[in-house]
């Protein structure tokens, strides 16, 4: 049987996205319950391959695997054979020879997960590849938004930040659009993609982006981008693109605020907004574990039976 891969949101249809979200919603009850253990994936092995540092995504995948009874093994590039000059594909093939069921891959190069998937027989789940996609982040954003807005049909979601270099912006806007939302992307011209993305609006004026927005996703601003001349200072960014009480007033009343983390408080988001009543940041983290449980079950071909069985 052909393995199921989650390489991005782009190849997924609306039905498949909704199936995963439905599963995640059911599995979240398990996460919230007193006994966080099931045996759906007993005897299955998940290897988390993190060529790039990440704590929250790795812990989230590890927890999702363990709650479902799988054995989760964490591999990181630092101190590995990668440091000794082994090629990416040799590492992938070597680990695959140990017969894991799922490889979860985070890598700084766009297309890395897809390249791996072409060379292995197990499932590959993309945990972020360069500036390409981060599909589980998109799914957890969608789940979080559905929890608070209900159907996303006709909703308007703004994504603000370094859009061009963001795999989150790419995956999340694809996912939200497939669920019927309209998406507006906002950032200084230097941070907007060189070519338009199909079906999304792009503006550099935050007020225009936030107008009628039901929710705003602020992206992490990397301060290294100052030296690349993508912006001038944290102060100026905060003034024109940061979420504050002043700027949030431009959105729909009661609009929600999301952030994939880790946050630069005082740059893209004011602390009082990050911790305020409209912030869904921690809810996103919880949704992340639920979504990843659903994805691992889907990879094992057990999603339907697990939520109905």
């Amino acid at each position: 049987m052909e393995p199921w891969h989650l390489l991005g949101i782009e190849p997924l249809g609306r039905g498949e996205i909704e199936g995963i979200l439905r599963g995640a919603r059911a599995l979240r009850e398990l996460l919230r319950g007193p006994t966080k253990k099931r045996s759906d994936l007993r005897g299955k092995t998940v290897i988390n391959l993190f060529f790039e540092n990440s704590t929250r995504t790795r812990v989230s995948f590890e927890m999702a695997a363990k709650i479902l009874g799988a054995d989760a093994i964490n591999w990181s590039a630092a101190g590995s054979s990668q440091a000794k000059g082994e090629t990416f594909l040799d590492t992938i093939r070597t680990l695959e020879a140990m017969r894991p069921d799922v490889l979860v891959i985070r890598h700084a190069a766009s297309g890395a997960a897809e390249l791996a998937a072409r060379h292995v027989r197990c499932s590959v789940v993309n945990a972020g590849d360069g500036a390409h996609e981060h599909p589980t982040q998109a799914l957890l954003d969608a789940l979080t938004l559905q929890d608070h807005l209900g159907s996303l049909e006709g909703r308007r979601i703004a994504i603000v930040g370094d859009i061009a270099h963001s795999r989150v912006a790419r995956s999340t806007s694809l996912c939200l659009r497939r669920l019927g939302a309209s998406v507006v992307l906002c950032g200084p011209r230097t941070m907007l993609p060189a070519a338009p993305w199909e079906g999304v609006e792009m503006v550099s004026d935050l007020r225009e982006a936030l107008r009628e927005a039901d929710a705003i996703i602020a992206l992490r601003i990397q301060l290294e981008r100052i030296s690349e001349c993508l912006f001038s200072s944290a102060r100026e960014y905060a003034r024109y693109f940061g979420l504050s009480r002043r700027t949030l007033a431009w959105a729909k009343e009661g609009a929600f605020v999301l952030h994939p983390g880790p946050m630069n408080r005082g740059v893209e988001i004011e602390p009082e907004i990050a911790d305020g009543g409209r912030s869904l940041v921690l809810h996103q983290v919880e949704s992340g574990v639920a979504v990843r449980m659903a994805v691992l079950l889907r990879a094992a071909g057990k999603l339907e039976e697990s939520i109905h069985g």
């Binding site: 782009e10 090629t87 990416f88 594909l89 890598h107 190069a109 766009s110 297309g111 890395a112 897809e114 390249l115 590849d129 360069g130 500036a131 390409h132 996609e133 061009a164 795999r167 790419r170 993609p193 060189a194 070519a195 338009p196 993305w197």
Partner: protein, 426 residues
């Protein structure tokens, strides 16, 4: 040496304008006669039936990477020269970005000697513009020319320092050497791995805009105007570069330019799913750029088709796209890709052959590129209608890195003669 008669083909010689059904006689390694009709070969003469085929000057590729010395696992001068012959090329010009780079006369002699030993296509070589290709100090142009170098280039790397570029042009013109340039402003392309456009935006790959090439082409054309030196622009990829070269020629400047088959055949959409065989520098561009290059080839703005043959192994290509090396092999696919432009009505057969022979010969002042009685018999026989499937695994080159693997194409060099010796035959 016995005679070889190439009988009854369509003889196309762009230098003289000859386009006639006839027979070409090779004797003692030279072209002994070109006659109308089928002639009357004496018994015992080797007769090659060329009916339905084209008899053209041995093709010349100004731009190949032979990887020797230093990266013989990718290609050697011998395998590269064999690949050239297999693709119909009787002569190639090697690029200097080897390890070490060809930046002194002894290395120039090494490449030429190895080419002679191989005995397939003639191997000419360029020398570096700057020592070690570092963009800092001029290499010894006079000594390299005396050793046989036909031009200077830092190909693969642009000369970012405009002041140094001016001096390189002046110094090269002292010795009558053309300066061949890879046009890319690294401050605009830094970190980028493909063309900037909808495909790069979709794939999340850093792209670089046409402007990175255009500003350098415009800069160097003005430096050619300032110095009066001969500037040759390698593998141009943008509509803006074509426009700039057209204008430079109108001004009467000594500016020549080449384009590759991949840049007039493919767009950046070929990268599709991170196909590293569609990664090269300059990158595949948009449809409008492809159209502009085709127009430039047709109207005389561009002087040559060159392949930028760049063999790599799986070590450089079976990796994430951003990490993959630039370049594809091109010697064995150039003829059918060029003939596709003839079938599309963009190039006449004569113009197509000119771009692959007389055009490149003139740019670097190379012998050959024409059918001349008394001259060494560098001759290619092309079957313009032969249908075949490109199979990278059957290349004479060590390189398998081509985006054209599996393509069903028409037109192929069926014989290549170098100095009257048949070095390729199918």
């Amino acid at each position: 040496m016995a005679e070889i008669w190439l009988v009854g083909g369509r003889i196309l010689d762009p230098a003289s304008g000859m386009d006639t059904a006839g027979t070409l006689v090779v004797r003692d390694g030279a072209i002994a006669a070109i006659e109308k009709g089928e002639g009357a070969p004496a018994p015992g003469t080797r007769v090659i039936d060329c009916r339905g085929k084209w008899i053209v000057p041995g093709l010349i590729d100004l731009h190949v990477h032979l990887r020797e010395p230093g990266e013989e696992y990718k290609e050697t001068i011998e395998t590269g020269a064999r690949a050239a012959a297999a693709g119909g090329f009787a002569a190639v010009v090697a690029m200097p970005n080897t390890k070490p780079p060809i930046d002194d006369p002894s290395l120039v002699r090494f490449v030429i000697e190895k080419g002679k030993e191989a005995g397939y296509a003639r191997v000419y070589t360029s020398g570096a513009i700057t020592r070690g290709l570092r963009g800092e100090e001029l290499a010894d142009y006079g000594l390299m020319k005396e050793a046989g170098a036909v031009c200077v280039t830092d190909d693969g790397r642009p000369v970012m320092n405009a002041g140094l570029m001016r001096r390189a042009l002046e110094y090269a013109s002292t010795f009558g050497l053309p300066v061949m340039v890879h046009e890319e402003d690294l401050t605009l392309s830094g970190g980028a791995v493909m063309n900037e456009g909808p495909t790069s935006a979709r794939l999340g790959l850093p792209g670089f805009p046409n402007a990175a090439e255009d500003v350098m082409v415009l800069r160097d054309i003005e430096l050619a105007a300032l110095t009066g030196a001969h500037l040759h622009i390698a593998h141009l990829s943008t509509a803006g570069a074509v426009r700039a070269v057209r204008e430079a020629k109108r001004r009467g400047l000594r500016v020549t330019a080449e384009a590759t088959p991949h840049h007039f055949t493919l767009t950046d959409e070929a990268v599709a799913r991170y196909d590293t065989h569609a990664k090269m520098c300059p990158p595949l561009r948009s449809r409008a750029d492809v159209e502009a290059i085709r127009e430039g080839l047709a109207d005389g703005t561009l002087d040559a088709i060159a392949t930028d043959h760049a063999p790599h192994s799986s070590l450089e290509k079976d990796v994430p796209f951003a990490q993959a090396a630039n370049g594809i092999v091109g010697l064995e696919t150039a003829v059918p890709l060029t003939l596709a432009l003839v079938r599309e009505g963009i190039l006449s057969p004569m113009r197509a052959i000119e771009l692959l022979s007389w055009g490149p010969a003139r740019i670097f002042g190379l012998p050959g590129g024409r059918l001349e009685v008394g001259a060494p018999a560098d001759v290619t026989v092309i079957d313009p209608d032969l249908e075949w499937e490109i199979d990278a695994n059957r290349f004479a080159s060590k390189g398998r890195n081509t985006p054209f693997h599996g393509w069903k194409v028409r037109g192929r060099a069926v014989r290549t003669l170098v100095g009257g010796k048949i070095v390729h035959e199918i």
